[in-house]
């Protein structure tokens, strides 16, 4: 079985601080990590490989330094890493990003399952996974919380919904986006870390993946950011004091209009 995992390198949100004076993001010294949701996709891919034998290819689109995310994925059990990187990709929105990744996947060749995290923690769009499956014209199941079985060219999975879950059957090849509930990611093994160190990351440019210039970067992006601003941070409010009964009465008065 050949599994492809798409990942993104993102700034670690726990490190992102707001400058209290200028009210802007402080990015200096912010560590780059694998998007938290993608770690579940990596783990699930490695588990599928262990269940069915095969190979896991991990791919990312990003700047040269995203290579470290691919190496980390290899240390966690992925076999091969591909970095799709080109200055021409600058300004890509989700349309252009999913197009670019779909071109890279076409170049990778035959696969059975593509796994993505449900969304990235910096953009929170959840649009790139479905975008890739649409560009490739393959079926998708989003918000997958369990891969029950894969047999006879069909996969049976659980899709998390607001009120519970759906059990969905899909032919493969297909794409899944996964949620946290699907697994608990392992830590890298010593062997894995050594393999990652030795691994050679494949680098592809816009030309290498046969992408059309009109579909990549800013030209391939229907949307444009026209304004970026930092909202005033929420301020702490009133601290209420008293014994439990007094507090309850105060809270009752304050919240009466909301709860009735």
């Amino acid at each position: 079985m050949h599994i492809i995992v798409c990942i993104k390198q993102v700034p670690n949100t726990t490190d992102v601080k707001i400058d209290p004076v200028k009210n802007t993001l402080i990015r200096e010294g912010v560590e780059s990590i694998i998007n938290p949701f993608d770690t579940y996709a990596i783990e699930e891919a490695v588990r599928l490989k262990e269940r069915f034998t095969g190979k896991v290819t991990v791919v990312t689109m990003g700047p040269p330094q995203a290579e470290s995310a691919l190496k980390e994925a290899i240390s966690l059990g992925c076999d091969e890493g591909i970095l799709v990187s080109d200055r021409k990709f600058a300004g890509s929105d989700t349309w252009a990003t999913s197009y670019t990744l779909s071109c890279a996947i076409k170049k990778i060749g035959a696969f059975d399952i593509i796994l993505c995290g449900k969304q990235a923690s910096d953009g929170d769009t959840a649009q790139v996974g479905p975008g890739i499956s649409t560009h490739l014209d393959i079926p998708q199941v989003t918000y997958v919380k369990k891969i029950e079985e894969i047999k006879g060219g069909l996969a049976r999975v659980e899709r998390m919904m607001e009120e519970g879950y759906d059990i969905v059957e899909t032919p493969i090849p297909c794409l899944f986006t996964v949620v946290k509930e699907i697994n608990t990611p392992r830590l890298p093994s010593l062997k894995g870390m050594m393999r990652a160190k030795a691994a050679k990351i494949v680098q592809w440019t816009a030309a290498d993946i046969n992408s059309e210039p009109k579909n990549i970067g800013l030209d391939g992006s229907p949307t444009r950011v026209v304004k970026i601003f930092t909202p005033a941070p929420r301020k702490g409010g009133e601290m209420l004091k008293g014994d439990a009964a007094e507090l309850a009465q105060k809270v009752g008065d304050l919240l009466k209009d909301i709860i009735i």
Binding site: P36, M161, T223, I228, G237, G252, I258
Partner: protein, 401 residues
């Protein structure tokens, strides 16, 4: 200058660092008193261009010939139904869609897909729809990516809406991404603010990024329709007007359009409280400070009195005290209820990201230095086992339960 889309005009740059400070992506630094842009970090958002007092930064945002987009009219709302019940997010979107349609001088149209769903059309009309596109077929009973995408694509191709709004729900996000790619349209996720630039007929879509630490306004200049998914509880549901009338357009599609590669085997309902976290007006959440899984009973009791949903911090979910579907925060759900009551939650940044846009936050924690108090409207330092029962009692009294 080279072929990149953003350039510094070195003669004009004074190295004043205004751009360095404004850049939300940390992509600019000063070397030898001149700004240098790291293109691997730059998102071409143009914040620096506006900040520069010397017009030393130029960005080429693509000067493609403006297409004739005049054939696209009206504002559409994709109305989500589950088990034949219209989801409340659809009503919220009809309320917002009406305002946008008025500004554009177009009609508000509801799109409804389902099986034997026609009786529900009135609910959409009473909430302001001037036109309803109704596609009724057994294949559309439950949401499936393929038929829903193909039907919506066919409708868009035939009737050419100017704007499409859809809930940022599981279904909405899965469906509308596929539609946007198929018809080559721009899509902005999880908007919390919408407006119209009346002169350019542009939908101004504002959304949070980095968990709400920055906000971005996004447009789609040269593609139609302009598509957005919108967060729960941000837009207001309109008043019911039972005398409002609308034109209903019923469409039938061939098996080819209605076929699906995926198949639903079963639909399992799981949340005991049966209140959808994202749709709840009030959420009562428990964190590690409640001490153990058995103490969620206090949280649940308070929630029951208020008709609220039960939320949880990541720590309690990871410890197995409560299922993941209750988790609020970065790797859980993002919520913005009218009232969020945080009990024994310290307020790690990952949790705050998921709930800091709640209208009123009441935090109860024994640690006066807990970060949750920095975002709370009202804070109580104290023992949750004394305070929660007292609150439960007080709310019962107020609500006469």
């Amino acid at each position: 200058m080279d072929d990149s889309k953003i350039n510094i005009i070195l003669e004009k740059c004074t190295g004043c660092t205004l751009c360095v400070r404004i850049c939300p992506f940390g992509a600019i630094k000063i070397e030898n008193k001149k700004a240098i842009i790291d293109l691997s970090k730059c998102n071409l958002c143009g914040a620096c261009v506006d900040s520069c007092k010397f017009a030393a930064i130029v960005v080429d945002k693509g000067s493609v010939a403006k297409k004739d987009l005049s054939a696209y009219k009206d504002v559409w709302v994709f109305c989500e139904q589950k088990k034949g019940v219209i989801q409340t997010i659809s009503f919220e979107l009809l309320g917002e869609g009406k305002k946008l349609a008025n500004k554009l001088g177009g009609k508000l149209c509801a799109v409804l897909l389902g099986d034997k769903i026609e009786p529900k059309v009135d609910e959409l009309v009473w909430r302001g729809a001037d036109k309803v596109y109704l596609v009724d077929a057994p294949e559309l009973k439950n949401y499936q990516d393929d038929p829903y995408t193909k039907v919506l694509v066919e409708l868009v191709k035939e009737y050419k809406p100017e704007v499409i709004l859809c809930g940022a729900t599981v279904i909405g996000r899965s469906l509308i991404s596929r539609v946007a790619i198929t018809i080559d349209a721009g899509l902005t996720a999880d908007c919390t603010g919408l407006d119209i630039d009346e002169k350019e007929r542009l939908l101004l879509q504002t959304r949070p990024a980095f968990g709400g630490n920055i906000m971005a306004t996004i447009i789609t200049p040269n593609h139609r329709p302009q598509m957005s998914t919108v967060r729960h509880k941000v837009m207001k549901e309109p008043e019911l007007n039972k005398s409002h009338k609308a034109e209903v357009i019923k469409k039938k599609y061939s098996n080819n359009i209605l076929s699906s590669r995926t198949r639903i085997i079963d639909i399992v309902e799981e949340i005991e409280e049966t209140i959808n976290l994202s749709e709840a007006d009030i959420i009562v959440s428990g964190g590690r400070g409640i001490g153990g899984p058995e103490n969620f009973s206090h949280i649940k009791e308070l929630a029951k009195v208020l008709g609220a949903a039960v939320g949880a911090s990541r720590a309690t979910v990871d410890a197995g005290w409560i299922p993941y579907s209750h988790q609020v925060g970065q790797t859980g759900k993002t919520v913005c209820p009218k009232l969020y009551i945080a009990c024994g939650i310290s307020g790690q940044i990952q949790h705050l990201i998921g709930m800091q846009s709640s209208k009123v936050i009441l935090a109860i924690n024994k640690d006066p230095d807990a970060p949750i108090f920095k975002v709370a409207t009202y804070g109580i330092v104290g023992d949750i086992f004394e305070i929660i029962p007292a609150l439960t009692k007080e709310f019962k009294k107020i609500l006469k339960k």
